[in-house]
Amino acid sequence: MVAATQQETQVPTARRWRGNAAVGALAATLLITGVLALSGAPFLLPALVGAIVIAVAALARPRAQRQMAAEMTLSQENVRAGIQAIVSGFADPVVVLDAQGNVTMFNAQAKAALPQLGIGRPLSFAVRSPEVVSAVERVLREGAVAETEFHEKVPVERSFEVRATPVRFDAAPAGATSSAIEIVMLFRDVTAARRLERMRVDFVANASHELRTPLASLYGFIETIEGPAKNDPAAQARFLAIMREQARRMSRLIDDLLSLSRIELKEHVHPTEDVRLDSVLSEVVDTLTPLALECRTKIVLEGANRVLVTGDRDELIRVFENLIENAVKYGQSGGRVDVALVDGERAASVTVRDYGPGIAPEHLPRLTERFYRVDVAESRQKGGTGLGLALVKHILNRHKARLLVRSELGAGASFEVVFPKPQGGESPGA
């Protein structure tokens, strides 16, 4: 696809310069670059651009002596068009800067990664990271390649490797003052790799910390069974039941931590499928009906018939499972849980409301932190790990959806998930 586009831009040039062998070489170089770009050879581009520049210079110089100035400008435009074609054909973000650090070219990938990019505007309007700013300064000062890496923490964590290469694009005619330096900036998204490293560290830290307490209690029971309760089958049976429950909790904890890590790994990739929210909700309500019966609670599902959002079906199921399960578990004293689906012009939303004890205001902003529980004893007794809402938050982040929690002590709680619809401009969140 991309290679083909480049070939097209190359055709008129080739026709004008038919018979000139160097043109063939240039076209071939452009094509090879395109192919390499597609095959993901990341940092070869600057070298190849360099080669092309030399080829172009060789082509243009003897001609320039023979031809009129206008022709000359035209061929330079062709060169720039060719370079633009390469830049846009590249699979990674590419930005080209002039000697002042202002942006002169970029591709769609770059715009997606750095939305503030604009032609003629400083690169630092789009990337403020001091690492990148000083890499550009270094290239301009020393005229040599500079490599660096930068990280963003919010709204989602991202990491890029950056390589800044000085080049001279335009083919200055012999005798003219040498052309100004420009910089080709290549960005490589290394978020996935960095996350994987982080995930290992976090997983080990969290798992070892959270498993320590239940493990210690397991040991305690084992010692009791071997010692004081050695000849007491009734006590043994009771302890074994508790131990089974502890073991079940530990394995759930590991499962939840793993799902959390998996979601975090792909948090920077937005889902693309169409999902029917109504069918997600009725499926979740069906699975939770036994639990609701056990808790003497009625789940009432109401709302629009067919609502489509962009998302990942399995993940959305997890979201509403967690929210409705919480409402049933913690709000069971209210005897009723309402699930309302509303489809609006600007957003679709689902509200899960219970009529239980509610949540005190000081806890509201904290609920989505890992392992945060309002009442540790109650949550543990109900088999909770405190990871449910953390998982919900990460999944919703990935979906660019928002979670709004409202509650008053004694008046139940409501958890609303809002999926903004992509039309029009962004509206600031409430």
Binding site: P130, E131, H363, P365, E369
Partner: protein, 237 residues
């Protein structure tokens, strides 16, 4: 000829905006790394951030001088004058944010190795995430000259207050639960306060972006959700 002067002035203004953006990037990076130093309990990282503060101060001074020179030389009016004034004010807030990041790092040096449970710093990390988002959004608003985005940052400050209040209570609870936590938690309380202050400076920047774009002021009395200063601390359960 007149055209030439106008162009030179634009170049001055753009250099100023660029400087502010880069200063902002430095403040953002120092804040993110200060929190990372806290969460990972890394004195090496803390010392790096402390060293960066000198660079931030120098950059701020340089920008301020540049701004003053611009006023003296070009005598800008209306929106151009606002751009220069806003730049001066914004650099002051960014410089304060860098200072606060440095303070956090000094506390990291004091408590390294003493933080027993990860849960102690989790809330502080969460708070910092809100503030970093505010800071990113307001700097984006600055380079985009986007008053709506600035307004949104200004309004979102309440979330930070609510979280800070909650964190304050939580840390007090830990201190009462186990006296051995008191030292660490006291430092963490100050870290949280520093982060909350960064939020305040981010809203100052928001006010200046709003002023720069619209010429108007965001001055209506803000509703404060911060209840920690109204209550006797010990009444938090």
């Amino acid at each position: 000829m007149a055209d030439h002067i106008v162009r030179a002035f634009d170049v001055d203004l753009e250099a100023l905006s660029r400087g502010v953006a880069e200063l902002g990037g430095l403040a953002e990076s120092m804040t993110a790394r200060a929190i990372e130093a806290l969460v990972r309990q890394s004195p090496a990282m803390a010392n790096e951030v402390i060293a960066l503060d000198t660079k931030l101060d120098a950059l701020q001074q340089e920008l301020e001088e540049k701004a003053v020179l611009t006023i003296a030389r070009r005598q800008p009016m209306a929106v151009d004058l606002r751009a220069v004034i806003a730049a001066i004010r914004v650099t002051h807030d960014l410089e304060r944010i860098g200072d606060l990041a440095k303070n956090i790092c000094k506390r990291v040096l004091a408590i390294t190795g003493l933080v027993q449970a990860p849960k102690l710093v989790k809330g502080v990390e969460h708070l910092s995430q809100l503030v970093l988002t505010q800071l990113k959004d307001v700097l984006d608003a600055y380079v985009e000259r986007n008053s709506e985005k600035a307004l949104a940052v200004w309004e979102h400050d309440e979330n930070i207050d609510a979280l800070y209040t909650s964190l304050f209570r939580e840390l007090l609870t830990y201190m009462m639960e186990d006296p051995r936590n008191i030292g660490v938690c006291a430092h963490l309380l100050f870290c949280a306060k520093n982060i909350e202050r960064m939020g305040y400076h981010a809203t100052n920047v928001a006010e200046n972006v709003y002023y720069l774009v619209t010429g108007g002021k965001l001055l209506a009395e803000r509703v404060k959700a911060d209840m920690t200063s109204l209550e006797k601390p010990m009444s938090a359960k």
